[in-house]
Symmetry: D2
């Protein structure tokens, strides 16, 4: 017997139309997430890749075809207005997040917004406010701190929540990359304050801060920081320094320390000039009952030290986070068959779809994104004021 | 402007209809490959997931919907006969490979067949013969040694071919898993000789042998082997030993040594009872000019020692195989953003599509699969004959 | 033929009488160094373990016999006065360093003083002044930052000095231990400000600061710091909390950032409550041409990334620092036969003996020790002043 | 108060005069052991480094002075005859072991003999016989498989004996070095059959075999082997190939598999041409309840997987073998302060002194050394007979 036209619906779940703005690195990664999520996970709603939006008509059409979107738009307002779009997925640089997200929420759409939530605290506050109003209407707004969805880090959070670390005393996060070591690397949008807001800080530091707070289960109370731009001029265009040069207006690196509300000490280092470190997001938490350690360059592994074991048998244990009962792993391959970077976007899509179907608040929320934004602002303020300890406000935007 | 219905064609490439037989673990992995390949790579043909085949009508229909196949079939002969299928992808246990593959080739279809190529040398010879005949008609037949498509191992092969290791003297491959440590694990098809052909040997050893020969660039001339079945009876059904027990008729583990035609010494160990080793496929080659080392549990890394460097500065160098100029990486994420297990199937699909479009012989061919089968047979023969050194025939089936 | 009484002189070098004050952990380690150095290295002077000094007559006599000292003293002034002592090796807690060192130098003896040089900057200044005066008389004074003599870190320094890292931009040092996680650990001398000066800061931070400056080849210009004492009361005596408790008057941990004169950013974390980290002194330097990474828990290894290699072949290379042309290794075992912690003291003894014989200034000098002391003071000052950036004076004490 | 002339006796223990034959690499390592053991451990007898023996009068006198021996001899018979020598420590090449050891035992001396015990089974049998006879007179004979005394491997043995691994199924040992990669390396004594007996096999394989049997607690029942000499001619003298060349008469590498009496499968690989591997003695045991893994290049670490833990929390745990309750560690430094290669000789000396004082049989005994010799012979026999499985005799020499 043959059964033709079985697809496209992976199951009988009602459709959830997704419209994505932006189709560069993040757009491609999100697309892979949307394309895959319903093929792997059981979902209450069936995501449909309705339309993608970009300014260049030819390029966006090509991207739609390549990435698997059913339609293409050149105006994000038109995308938001589409009836087949219930969820707007924002993958643009930070300077446009606030405008698009607020408009989408006001138009009654759910929103997924890439991190950092915005380029300023004021924008982030407006977004959090809009999210709160939309929440009252049953809409959902999530910020894309995708690394929370790395199975190893989701397991880390679960273990901390279960008390396996006891009281957390130290949180240490470094996020080291090296793509700006070469002074001939051109002045891309990520190197301009007007588009990116900040440099390594907003790009890498936002992840570092979110993970520190999320994993430890406590927000930062204050920070002390230094930032630096080692290469202050770069060629305007790719191909080298023979042409015009432009000013780099964001940081290459930031080092900062902080205290969590819980009393834990935190230390951070983010940089894009650490030669040889490609994507070294390293997280370690030390508690009274145990410690956890993670490196994104080995993303399928979580190291756990159980302080309650006899010293003679204790040691950091390399958990290969590929077991059926590890977060997200019930849907994937047998033990030992590792996942990759892009799977975090599939998992993000999964959790968001569940939140939308359940009408429940997703995490990380726009409030979480705003909190990170406030820490970023405090870091910049401290760096500008001789490292002085700078408190971070906590109360939600809507209060 | 809106551009609706941009999809499904990722570009203007002519379609290549794929029909897949089997939809368990391997079928799911291949599906992810087919679903993804055209979204990521530039392809000369556009793969269409035409139909999937399985014996249970309900289950196969559900699988088709879940995995993204446009139609479902319950008879593999019907699948082969479909006009919209040009490529038959065989993901069934080894005992049905020969019959399906030969029929598909005779029906004028291209074939991708999971490893090991067959359960016996005779079957594999028939398949290689059919592939040769089909080759004359422009058809392509590939065996699914997907680990060759791990970027790190593809890079390893490239470096060996470039002479970076000099003359290879040692090849050492171990493939350690642990899912059979528990004696309550039931007597699944992989534990019966009639379905699986052999145990760890055919399942893991086939990969180990293929990689040893492929990476070193030389076939095995002979082997000496021991095999063992530590748990000889297992429950017939999941849930434990209270019910009926059945005989395990395949090996749990095999250890063997060998010599390559090149003169290199090889050592192998494959097992499914190495407690704590989940998917530890480890490969090391030592040559006169350098060494390479790999572990599938850290699949984005390749370790390289350059013997031509001064001893005081030399050492195994951990290459994170995520750079743009690494094999397959031009299509993926920025440096340091690792891939996972399933990407090997996307890469396999890519290379197969290119071979079909170019009418060129793919690698690994059915001849390569036959050669591995002969080594497996020699291993079993040696194990049965007091470890005596057992030569491996090389000449292709068609001679 | 027999040749009896060949020893004690390992060769015909004139003797150098050593007198050691203190015989606890550091004293035992120094003793192993003195006992071994002349048996392994070619030396211009032959160290003689003349006498050890401690307050308890029985205990010091036992220690002398056990550790191999020819005589025992109960008054350090008597030790200094001995004619058979030319070098005074100070292994006492920090509160007695200044008095003993200054007296020894004034008595015309060479001095080796454990780190940190002193408990206050004023003491350290007095010691540096005494060292300068003694230097004019041909005496030598060295501070015991023994980790500089780990072969891997000596190699690291050599590579930085040779320009292999280019311009250093990041220095990151953490020194993590965990012996104070247990709140029942008693209030030992290292937990009292009056004896130890500070906690993790002086104990571990002194090493971290010295290595950062030494390896990068540039002093710290200023720091911003936070310190914390997580367990503020501890039992006065071993055996648990049933008895009297006392106040912990030093830090458990310190996190701080800094800038080197060279413009590099530095980050530091030292703690004695990082569960599972036993002796994790980790150092990483990132420069424009390469990076280096080290972990004291794997002390025979140095990781080097060469940024001048093609990206596709680059990676952190694990140099096993056991080759004949690595620092100090000409005297030890064949490649791959690793050394241990205690060898740093043998190497320290070797370098000190050479400096004494040559009449040359040893490194690290008391000035270097003073500089570290100033950084420690700046760290404490910053921690007490809301993390404000606190400059560090550089000019030597004698100016 | 002063207490002069405290030394040389570390305590009131009666002296044990040691006489050592040979003073090259092994002699230097043993000397470091004898020099250190009484300074670190509490011993029932106080070792005195009475005399060292070598053929060249000047060289042995220099060595005695350098290494700390009180006298020098040029005839080993004279050394054995010395009244101040109760223990003869044999550090010569394998071809002289039997003659010296048997003579020493017959002269009433205790004997420590470097591994491999001899160059042939016949010699080893004679030595074992002499040891048995001497044992009846209260003498002790030990063979120097020093790696058993690496704390991590001593801990491994303890854990296996405690049942932490359950039933051992796999033992895998490789010992990889690379000092013969260079074809210009001259034809040293270790490359001639008449002096060394065999190549990598006797040098590295003896360690590998002893550890496999010792750790698993079961002797090898039989083996199947292949050996190879990749570089068959080498310069007679250092400095390169311009001069005379000589035949290499031993193996460069051996690969072999085996079965233990217990039923476990074993695999072995030893080589001196594995480029980049300096001293990679790697041992792994997989049992029904857990696994252990070790690498001599990281000798302070032991990895343990506890199969009885929930899969979601299990993983190889890196035990830093530096805790007070780890074997031998009670006498050394605080946790995390690692030991080196040479400490195995100090530990060997400690255990031997205890055995002599207690009059108890030491391990590894000459019988153990003979058993290893029989395995080595079986390996060579199998390698010469087409890999055929070759049983190993077990019964002790004296039966």
């Amino acid at each position: 017997m043959s059964y033709d036209n079985v697809t496209p619906a992976p199951d009988d779940a009602p459709p959830l139309g997704v419209g994505m703005v932006g189709y560069a690195f993040m757009g491609a990664a999100h697309s892979q997430g949307w394309r895959t999520v319903g093929r792997v996970f059981d979902l209450p709603l069936s995501p449909v890749m309705a339309a993608v939006c970009g300014r260049d008509p030819d390029a966006v059409r090509t991207a739609a075809g390549r990435l698997g979107w059913a339609a293409a738009e050149t105006d994000w307002r038109a995308l938001i207005a589409r009836e087949d779009v219930q969820l707007v997925d924002i993958c643009t640089p930070g300077d446009s997040h606030a405008e698009i997200a607020v408009a989408a929420l006001e138009a009654g759409k759910h929103v997924l917004c890439e991190k950092p939530l915005a380029n300023t605290v004021a924008e982030a506050e407006a977004m959090a406010r809009a999210a709160h109003e939309a929440r009252a209407r049953g809409q959902v707004a999530m910020v894309g701190f995708n690394y929370r969805r790395t199975p190893a880090l989701a397991l880390a959070r679960r273990m901390v929540a279960e008390g396996r670390l006891g009281e957390v005393r130290h949180v240490r996060v470094s996020y080291l990359q090296d793509w700006l070591v070469d002074p001939a690397f051109p002045l891309a949008w990520r190197l301009r304050k007007e588009t990116a807001g900040s440099g390594a800080l907003g790009d890498l530091g936002a992840h570092a801060i979110d993970l520190a707070q999320h994993l430890a289960g406590s927000p930062l109370a204050g920070v002390s920081a230094q930032t630096e731009t080692f290469v202050r001029e770069r060629p305007l265009r790719e191909g080298g320094p023979d042409g015009e040069m432009g000013q780099v207006t964001v940081d290459d690196a930031a080092v900062f320390t902080g205290r969590l509300d819980s009393g834990a000490l935190a230390s951070f280092e983010v940089t894009r000039v650490a030669a040889g470190r490609k994507n070294a997001l390293r997280v370690e938490l030390n508690g009274t009952a145990g410690s956890l350690s993670f490196d994104l360059e080995r993303l399928n592994e979580l190291e756990f030290h159980d302080e309650t074991q006899a010293a003679g048998e204790a040691g950091f244990r390399r958990i290969l986070v590929t077991e059926q009962d590890h977060p997200y792993l019930e849907a994937w391959w047998p033990p030992g068959h590792g996942l990759g970077y892009e799977h975090t976007f599939t998992h993000q899509a999964r959790d968001l779809v569940h939140a939308i179907a359940a009408g429940s608040a997703p995490a990380p929320s726009f409030d979480d994104g705003l909190q990170v934004q406030r820490v970023l602002a405090a870091v910049e303020e401290s760096a500008g004021k001789n490292c002085v300890y700078t408190p971070v406000e906590h109360h939600p935007a809507t209060v």
